[in-house]
């Protein structure tokens, strides 16, 4: 006697799940954070070095450096930057979707140490004499951009300008950005392109708090200088040790190709399962759809960044999720061939396949966890996806499939139809 209740529940459950998935697809897709290998952008690994001799690079110095970098990235307006400390003294900066890479690199790595020196490179004043956050961009009579600053102490500026005036005819106040030992005004002044920003002549003592820098700026250069001064100088020196940049077109193509391959793979796997396990394969395919939705949902919910290795891990995860179905369905087939009824074969098959599935998945989880803890960047993205995939497999491919198939089995509609599981009648023990 076929019971209608469980069959009704089966379809009701499918419809509810279908509706939930249909409504969550859009928000999930819209909220996926794409990594720079998928949308273009660049990544730099900086080695953090001391600015002055004797400076210690401890965790405090590192977090200060990260904070300064963060402020500068805000200037760039990159939507999903990722900054992480590695190995204790390295900082990895990932800027997906950044347009002007060269500008980003310069903004990031400059220490933004503003200094006022005399013609003999003696330090007169530096950034610590400025009122923080007061740098502005203004325009002169010729409509050329300049940067205005405010000093803390006008009298200090007065004494500095007095001294400079006395050096006539070498009465220049040289304004340096990131002055390094060995730089000299004399050498730079002879060149066409100076390393210092500007070197105005001072002809009288100036007792004022307002200073302006007028170099040969473009509007953007003036703006960047203002932002750098306002976000403060970098407490350490950053040296690029690794960098990679991906063209936007490259990224899009990679994503398209990989997703295309994935879609065909999913279709092929479903077809294979249907042919081999019939109804069992259909249930496995249904749980596979749920599996993909849940994995993506969890991934987006964790705000993890989707990278190319991540997509590869997800496609592989599909193979592994199906493996859980295969182990269970093979067991059910064994039991059916042994002459059990569909109901008891289903129960025994589920019970006896569970330890196998647990052992098989846990070993992969061990490998994924080690990768997650030890790996960096690309490897980490892969490991996160592999971990999520393995955990979700338990929910969808083990319990999800069990619930769905269980409803059909309990309706007794499948009784005496072992072919629905891909078992031939002639293979069943006791049959002729």
């Amino acid at each position: 006697m076929v019971k209608k209740g469980p069959i009704f529940s089966f379809f009701a459950l499918l419809i509810v799940l279908g509706i939930i998935i249909a409504f969550s697809v859009k928000p999930i897709i819209h909220n996926v954070n794409l990594g720079l290998d998928l949308k273009g952008g660049f990544e730099v690994l900086y080695q953090v070095k001391p600015l002055k001799s004797g400076q210690k690079i401890d965790s405090e110095a590192m977090s200060n450096a990260v904070a300064s970098i963060n402020k500068r990235i805000n200037v760039l307006g990159v939507s999903e930057p990722n900054i992480s400390i590695e190995n204790g003294n390295r900082i990895r900066v990932q800027l997906p979707g950044v347009k002007n890479e060269q500008r980003a690199r310069e903004l990031l790595s400059t220490t933004a140490k503003l200094e006022f020196r005399d013609y003999k490179d003696r330090l007169m004043m530096d950034g610590s004499d400025l009122v923080p956050g007061k740098a502005k961009v203004a325009f002169d009579d010729m409509n050329k951009p300049k940067v205005t600053l405010q000093l803390k102490d006008p009298s200090k500026f007065a004494s500095v300008t007095k001294k400079i005036t006395s050096y006539y005819p070498n009465n220049m106040l040289v304004i340096w950005m990131d002055y390094q030992k060995g730089d000299s005004y004399e050498k730079e002044a002879a060149k066409n392109k100076h390393k210092f920003i500007s070197a105005p002549s001072v002809s009288q003592e100036l007792n004022t708090a307002d200073v302006e820098i007028s170099g040969n700026f473009t509007v953007q250069e003036a703006n960047d200088l203002k932002d750098l001064l306002n976000s403060g100088s970098l407490p350490v020196r950053l040296v690029e040790t690794y960098s990679t940049s991906v063209g936007a077109q490259f990224g899009q193509d990679s994503m398209k190709e990989t997703i295309y391959a994935g879609a065909i793979a999913v279709a092929a796997i479903m077809l294979f399962m249907l042919l081999f396990y019939r109804l069992g394969g259909l249930i496995a395919s249904l749980t596979l759809v749920i599996y993909m939705a849940v994995v993506m949902g969890v991934f987006v919910g964790m705000q993890a960044v989707l990278t190319l290795p991540g997509i590869a891990a997800m496609i592989l995860g599909i193979g592994m999720a199906v493996d859980a179905n295969i182990i269970t369905l093979e067991r059910i087939k064994d039991e059916l061939r042994g002459g059990k009824t569909v109901l008891s074969a289903f129960k025994a098959g589920n019970k006896r396949s569970l330890p196998t599935v647990v052992d098989a998945n846990l070993t992969t989880i061990i490998a994924a966890a080690v990768l997650f803890i030890l790996g960096v960047s690309a490897v980490k993205g892969f490991a996160v996806m592999l971990l999520i995939s393995n955990v979700v497999t338990f929910v969808t491919s083990v319990y999800g499939a069990r619930i769905l198939l269980g409803l059909l089995v309990h309706s007794h509609a499948l009784d005496n139809h072992p072919w629905l599981f891909g078992v031939k009648r002639s293979d069943i023990r006791g049959s002729k």
């Binding site: 940049s245 590869a312 193979g319 493996d323 295969i326 992969t364 490998a367 030890l374």
Partner: protein
């Protein structure tokens, strides 16, 4: 399920009756030993083609909408005073060229290179630079990950099964990982950072396969309800277990091979080495867990039992 069930019907495809894995074990062991020796020789002669991720230098991927010629790329780089290694073409229409330079470029050089390449080939290239220190750290890091993962897996299998099975499972996975390295060395495929991910995935799979079979061995030993001593007795159990799990092992490797093969054909160039490593590893993994791990375990187990027996007889002699 009780004992009678087990004895009276077969769980598996009748075709598998002809497959005697234990009988052929020496052939399998010889093949694997030969492959390992081949790998060691190859590593000495050809070494590994380490990508810049593990060494240092600059890698540039040039992409165009049209097929690219090696000469054109080479000329473009020489015009900028670089000395590139021979560019490698890839992509469906040979529209991607990968160029390696031995030196690290600074950010001004990269900016210049990018704009010049874009002018000549149409789209912005990918540029990666790595300093020697970072490359070394990455390789070290990967090796640590491999060792730590293996240790944890042995411990897990030891707890869930027995030590000898844990040992053979790990020997099988090292065999698989080394086989991937062998193939990469022989074919001179570039090893990049994703290679480590691939090897670890294969370790996960290989152990997965092996465990499913050992799981069946454990069950069949329990089911046979007698003490096993000889290689023939263990051989029967091993053969039965492999035959019973063979459909599952093959079907699983097929469902995992499907996406890997499709990624290999249609997937992005950037993960090519990754998919090649997976492909090789999966095939080797299914072979090693069926033909190496189980027979090897049976041989080791019988040896161990014999030795124990001998030790017991020796130690009990004085009292007699």
């Amino acid at each position: 399920m009780d004992q009678n069930d087990k004895m009276n019907y077969k769980h598996y495809n009748k075709f598998y009756d002809h497959l005697d894995f234990m009988k052929q074990r020496n052939l399998f062991f010889t093949i694997s030993a030969a492959l390992i020796i081949l790998g060691i020789v190859s590593l000495f002669i050809f070494k590994l083609n380490l990508g810049i991720d593990f060494s240092s230098g600059t890698r540039v991927d040039v992409q165009s909408t049209q097929p690219i010629s090696v000469e054109k790329v080479d000329k473009a780089f020489r015009a900028m005073n670089y000395d590139p290694e021979r560019p490698v073409l890839s992509g469906t229409h040979n529209n991607i060229a990968t160029v390696r330079l031995n030196k690290e470029l600074n950010h001004n050089q990269i900016a210049e290179l990018k704009s010049k390449i874009k002018d000549q080939f149409g789209s912005e290239p990918n540029v990666s630079t790595v300093s020697p220190q970072v490359g070394r750290d990455l390789a070290k890091n990967g090796l640590y990950a491999l060792i730590i993962a293996s240790v944890f897996i042995i411990i897990y299998v030891w707890v869930r099964f027995e030590f000898l099975q844990g040992l053979t499972a790990v020997l099988a996975l090292i065999h698989d990982a080394f086989f991937i390295v062998t193939v990469f060395s022989l074919l001179h495929i570039e090893v990049d950072i994703l290679f480590i991910s691939a090897i670890l995935t294969i370790i996960g799979y290989s152990i997965n396969d092996t465990i499913v079979t050992f799981d069946r061995v454990r069950e069949n030993i329990k089911m046979s309800r007698k003490r096993l001593y000889t290689i023939e007795e263990f051989g029967d159990i091993v053969n039965l277990s492999i035959r019973e799990t063979l459909t599952r092992s093959l079907n699983t490797v097929i469902t995992v091979l499907i996406p890997v093969v499709l990624l290999l054909i249609f997937g992005s160039e950037s993960i090519r080495t990754f998919t090649i490593a997976l492909f090789v590893g999966l095939l080797c993994g299914v072979y090693s867990s069926i033909c190496i791990a189980c027979p090897l375990w049976a041989v080791l187990k019988v040896n161990y039992l014999k030795r124990r027996k001998r030790r017991r007889t020796v130690s009990t002699q004085p009292q007699n």
